[in-house]
Subunit: 415 residues, 2 copies
């Protein structure tokens, strides 16, 4: 099927899901989960073909992302069941007023319609995204990266069996059958067919969508996350937080990339930081890239200017010394990608200034930036992390996959 045909089918059937009740959607999700398990063999076979084809071109960590096992498929099914257990985001009455003329105006949450997701090589995104779309009443059109195509296709085939079993159109979850750049472009420009486009992947994909999308699109992902260690910070706490934010999972967008330290404590604190992140971590030391003031105090590479504008996604940290909170906030405003930033301080006034003035999706006081995540925020799930300000900001859960409409009831009112 061509991408055009897939979009046409999605548009044609999304109404069926928009008016489905919660029970029907949950039964669909449970059937999708069961179908994944029932089709484990077919999925593993497809995944093994993907792995074979990619083994010479992908890095070991990318291959690990791509690999499926029976256990990982079970985890995907469990993820779908968890989405079934979440509250239905559709049909909530967001507000209701009666106007002086007697009209009752209700704002009611409704699905977007057709949600398109362009992603890369994690096969589990296929089932995650499909589950979130179905629960929020949206048809979804998925476009996987080339490396994961066979796996994604086998997963979608299984999910479609689940949908059909409970009498919903299989076309509610579809995979674009073409992984060329052209198919991504078709989704980006499908005005009238795609109500929301979500790119999930690296900076190149996001930039491509921003440049080329004509349909409503959410900018996700890139995180150059900063942590500012104020002069009043609890230094033991700061070391725990910095180590966690940098090393607990360096490859994700909420990991810290830049640490700024107040000059009044730099001489005392930076050697402790060096010990914690470098000396104490024999097996996996963090490479520090230091501005000149920091380099005067501790050993490490000298930072190049671009090191303060780089999402390393690795055991690398840019470290700078700042005069005060004002300079820290100015640095962050210039270099942040609007994802997550933190201040570590015991000074309530500085905490307030930081949370008011820093213009990022998540602004932290005295905890790790690693918490910017749908699950950690109590949303139960996540379709991605928005780093722009339209519609959704930060982790996008089920509610963020909905729009609303006004329903107005009258008794003959005219204007």
């Amino acid at each position: 099927m061509t991408t055009q045909e897939i979009l046409h089918k999605a548009k044609g059937c999304c109404g069926a899901l928009a008016v489905a009740d919660t029970d029907q959607k949950n039964r669909a999700l449970l059937a999708m989960a069961d179908a994944l398990i029932d089709n484990t063999d077919a999925i593993l076979q497809a995944n093994s073909a993907d792995m074979d084809a990619a083994k010479d071109t992908l890095s070991p960590s990318m291959l690990d992302r791509l690999a499926l096992t029976a256990q990982r498929i079970e985890a995907m099914a469990e993820g779908i069941r968890q989405v079934a257990a979440l509250p239905d985001p559709v049909g909530r009455i967001l507000s209701q007023i009666q106007r002086p003329n007697g009209m009752v105006i209700e704002r009611r949450s409704v699905p977007m319609g057709v949600v398109a997701i362009i992603y890369e090589s994690r096969p589990n995104v296929t089932s995650d995204a499909a589950a979130l779309a179905v629960k929020s009443g949206n048809a979804c059109v998925l476009r996987s990266g080339k490396d994961a195509f066979r796996s994604a296709n086998a997963i979608v085939n299984a999910l479609q069996l689940g949908l059909s079993q409970i009498g919903l159109p299989a076309e509610l979850v579809q995979l674009v059958q073409d992984t060329s750049r052209e198919s991504a472009r078709e989704l980006m420009t499908a005005v009238g067919y795609v109500d929301l486009l979500i790119p999930r992947g690296g900076a190149g994909l996001i930039r491509n969508c921003i440049e080329n999308a004509r349909v409503p699109c959410i900018q996700t992902g890139t995180g150059i996350c900063h942590i500012f260690v104020d002069k009043t910070a609890d230094q033991a706490m700061a070391l725990d937080i910095l180590e966690n934010a940098k090393t607990s999972r360096p490859s994700v967008c909420n990991a810290m990339e830049v640490c700024l330290v107040h000059q009044d404590i730099a001489k005392e604190f930076l050697p402790k930081l060096h010990k914690r992140l470098v000396t104490d971590r024999e097996n996996q030391p963090v490479e520090l890239r230091l501005d000149s003031a920091a380099a005067d105090i501790i050993p490490g590479k000298t930072a190049e200017p671009q090191d303060f504008d780089t999402e390393f996604l690795d055991y690398i940290l840019a470290v700078g010394v700042v005069e005060d909170i004002q300079q820290a906030m100015e640095h962050i405003s210039r270099h942040s990608t609007g994802h997550s930033e933190a201040i570590l301080t015991q000074d309530e006034k500085n905490a307030g200034a930081f949370t008011r003035q820093i213009d990022s999706a998540a602004v932290y006081v005295n905890c790790s930036t690693r918490f910017t995540d749908g699950g950690e925020f109590g949303l139960g799930c996540e379709m991605g992390i928005s780093t722009q300000k339209l519609h959704a900001r930060g982790p996008m859960g089920l509610e963020e996959l909905c729009s609303y409409k006004y329903v107005i009831r009258g008794t003959g009112q005219i204007r």
Copy 2:
């Protein structure tokens, strides 16, 4: 100043307004209103130059939109004062939860940052848009149409005086000094400088923005609004509503363009409709464009297929006969622009089906589509009517000019 310089200044000063308190913003608005009045002469002079330049090219109704009088300037000032009286949309706590690990996660409304508005020839949009932007904590970059440029410039000069008087940067409200297509394109592609772009104007402008915008953009405006007269409709009420929806102000986007009538009442109802909209309106009869079933019953032009896809913005109405509510909803789904649709019925089941299934910003039961308006919805004001589903749908008031951020306070939590 070039558009780039204007954008740079807007970005540089929007932080000042983002942290301004309600009182300071309201004082700024009142000073802006006073400055408009104080500068009435300069504004009228500029407007008179605009009128002279446009008198041979614009239609009388367009010239009337462009014309200012001391009274209209007073009305603009009064509009600003009304915005000052509205609740502050910034700093609302949208949700607050405590996580099991003790972190408190708060979702707090914040300004967008820089809002760009591209509009056409109504000078009053200049002060309306500026007032809404300032109240919602946003810097605004305005780009007026060529015909209204001198007027808009004089208005912005006055508004800037008001801002300066209370110590806020004048650059919070700026007018692009170039009315070429190029300046519109610069706004549309100012990634990193424009947080929200709102086009206000005709279908050509909207299409241009959708085609070319790289910054987050709201699709506004075009309204091919339908009213379906069900077989159980109160026919006297229906005639009042239809006349109001078509003739009270045909040039606006919430006016009805298409009327669909249930076949069971067509023979009885269509002659009444013809009498009300044509025969009884000697001075301003509505031109009916009839599908073949309607043409068999009442006199009128035969509709061409495109008449059911046209925003007439005039005393013209396309009329069709449908078999039942299902066919009415299918017609609307195919032809609607997602603005406003109504069902006139006494059948509660049909009212429910219509409000659930029709996918438009505003769905009415037994009242006129003309109510789709920020003021009529109790929002106090409006920046435009969104006909898309991302971020805002229907009338956009102050809350829709805001985003939110997460503020997370902890005591050393790590993940």
